[in-house]
């Protein structure tokens, strides 16, 4: 029991836990849409395109999350706009934008003297989260949950039947745009906790695990959120006791839940159901 609780008596571990749980909640709620609307690639791209924003913010001494947010929202707008025009296939456009922006970020950062910040951005550093960061993370997660709640029926409908949605005046493009903006905000908060490279994992893995268990949208969200919270706690414990990076440990925990659920489902299936 001590092994489980003792680490969280430390103030920096409490802040880290709060940050990881909040980020996990935001990511997993949105993740249900990401998985079922097949937006995983977009999520990954949004994470990568924040790099130049972070780099510019770092070099000019502005808040890193502000730089990331600006870059992320800008990319969301761009992707939304490009997929509307359909000049290029959407995944192609995203592929170009995200590698290009990421390369730009690397080039800008190479002008900086230190590489320590690059590692933090790429792999996350949840132990460095401050109370101020915590407020902004909480704000984003709260906003995501609120918008998903308010627009639940519209987001649900445009996800599975965009034609009917358009015919009743709902404009699937508009709602996709809302999702992209929420996604970019969430991704920025996730970068602080698990890093840019692994952000997609928090979006996809808990929601995918939930989709193995339930076939209802609202329940999927609840299950995914629960799994993300568990993964956050388990990952931080692993990180504390075995001295491994927290972000990677959280992602590993989430992946382990997925594998365990998939195996359990298979076993139930074979044992005569």
């Amino acid at each position: 029991m001590n092994w489980l609780l003792e680490p969280f008596a430390l103030p920096f571990m409490q802040t880290a836990l709060a940050a990881a749980v909040l980020v996990g909640l935001g990511c997993s709620l949105l993740g249900v849409y990401v998985v079922h609307r097949r937006m995983a690639f977009v999520g990954d791209a949004l994470a990568h395109t924040t790099l130049p924003g972070v780099a510019v913010a770092y070099l000019s001494g502005v808040s890193l999350s502000l730089g990331a947010t600006v870059a992320g929202v800008l990319t969301a707008v761009l992707i939304g706009w490009m997929s509307r025009r359909q000049q290029v296939r959407e995944d192609t456009a995203i592929g170009i934008a995200f590698t290009g922006m990421f390369a730009l970020g690397v080039v800008i950062l190479s002008r900086a003297k230190t590489t320590r910040n690059l590692t933090d951005i790429l792999l996350g550093n949840v132990l460095a989260v401050t109370t101020d960061d915590l407020w902004s993370i909480g704000g984003v997660t709260g906003a995501v949950a609120f918008v998903l709640f308010l627009l639940h029926k519209e987001l649900e409908l445009t996800s599975f039947d965009p034609t009917h949605a358009a015919a009743i005046g709902l404009g699937p493009d508009r709602l996709r745009f809302v999702l992209l903006v929420l996604l970019s905000l969430t991704v920025v908060t996730a970068i602080q906790v698990i890093g840019l490279i692994l952000t997609t994992a928090l979006l996809v893995t808990p929601a995918a695990t939930a989709s193995l268990v339930t076939q209802r949208l609202a329940r999927s969200m609840a299950v995914a959120a629960g799994l993300a919270v568990l993964a956050a706690g388990a990952g931080l414990l692993m990180s504390f006791h075995f001295r491994v990076p927290a972000g990677a440990a959280i992602v590993l925990a989430a992946a382990a839940f997925f594998v365990a659920t998939a195996c359990a489902k298979r076993l139930l299936h074979f044992s005569g159901r």
Binding site: H36, Q86, L150, K153, E154, E156, L157, S159, F160, D161, P162, T163, H164, A166, A167, I168, G169, L170, G171, S211, T214, Q215, R216, L217, S220
Partner: protein, 248 residues
């Protein structure tokens, strides 16, 4: 090649506040000299097509693939803009009466694996009346339950939509149109990939709806002799109305 000029998409208000009343005695659907097509297409898919469909008719739009059947239905539903001519639904242009118009997409256009139940799919028919920030209430759920009963879907209400057969999926879409309270149903290839028995069942249902004063316009290429089945047949070929010989 340059895309032909199109008007903007018609404005379709979401939510019940701006719904207009239909004109009395107007045809359910009146299409006049319609030229329409997808905005980015090099040329219109439909050229100068005219026809009227009175209320309470089971009508078919027939013709080979690419004849413009879907284009006409989508233009009527306000999903694509039209170049010239006019469309009137119960005397109003597209968007004026869209709460009384239901477009039932081809089944392939819906993501059937999305985690929603049959009940929730049918419930989405109420959304055009609810609008932003209003949750469906008990009355809405009551309408859904009654309609599911009427179409023999009550036992499937809590199934995920992918568990339905093709015929049941089509029935669920019809249920949604009825829950919406639509009087004009535009059905895009509802008989696709259905066996003969299911097709016959579906046709019986459509005839019942017609008898209940609904107007159905069905795009289809599944019937060898559509005139035996439908009250009215509009034949299209290469985007133009084909005038058929008067039957003996």
């Amino acid at each position: 090649m340059t895309a032909f000029h199109t008007h903007r998409n018609p404005y379709l208000p979401y939510g019940g506040r701006e719904h207009a009343h239909p004109y009395l005695f107007a045809a359910a659907l009146a299409v006049e000299n319609l030229t329409a097509g997808y905005p980015n297409a090099p040329k219109p898919a439909v050229r100068n097509v005219s026809f009227d469909i009175p209320e309470g008719t089971l009508a078919a739009l027939v013709g080979p693939n690419g004849a413009g059947k879907s284009t006409i239905l989508k233009a009527v539903a306000g999903l694509i803009p039209f170049h010239s001519g006019s469309i009137n639904v119960f005397g109003l242009p597209p968007g004026g009466c869209h709460h009384r118009t239901a477009y039932l997409p081809q089944r392939g256009e819906i993501d059937w694996r999305f985690p929603v139940t049959v009940e929730r799919l049918v419930l989405t028919g109420r959304y055009v009346h609810l609008g932003w920030l209003r949750w469906p209430g008990r009355k809405d759920y009551d309408v859904v339950r009654r309609t599911l009963n009427r179409l023999g879907l009550e036992s499937l209400a809590h199934r995920q939509i992918a568990e339905l057969s093709g015929g049941q999926q089509q029935r669920a879409l019809v249920a949604r149109a009825l829950v919406q309270g639509a009087d004009l149903l535009l059905l895009d290839e509802p008989f696709n990939n259905l066996d003969a028995e299911t097709r016959a069942d579906l046709l019986t249902l459509f005839a019942e709806l017609r008898d209940a004063k609904k107007t159905l316009v069905i795009a289809t290429h599944d019937f060898d002799r559509p005139n035996d089945v439908f009250d009215q047949v509009v034949r299209l070929h290469g985007g133009c109305r084909q005038i058929e010989p008067v039957p003996e």
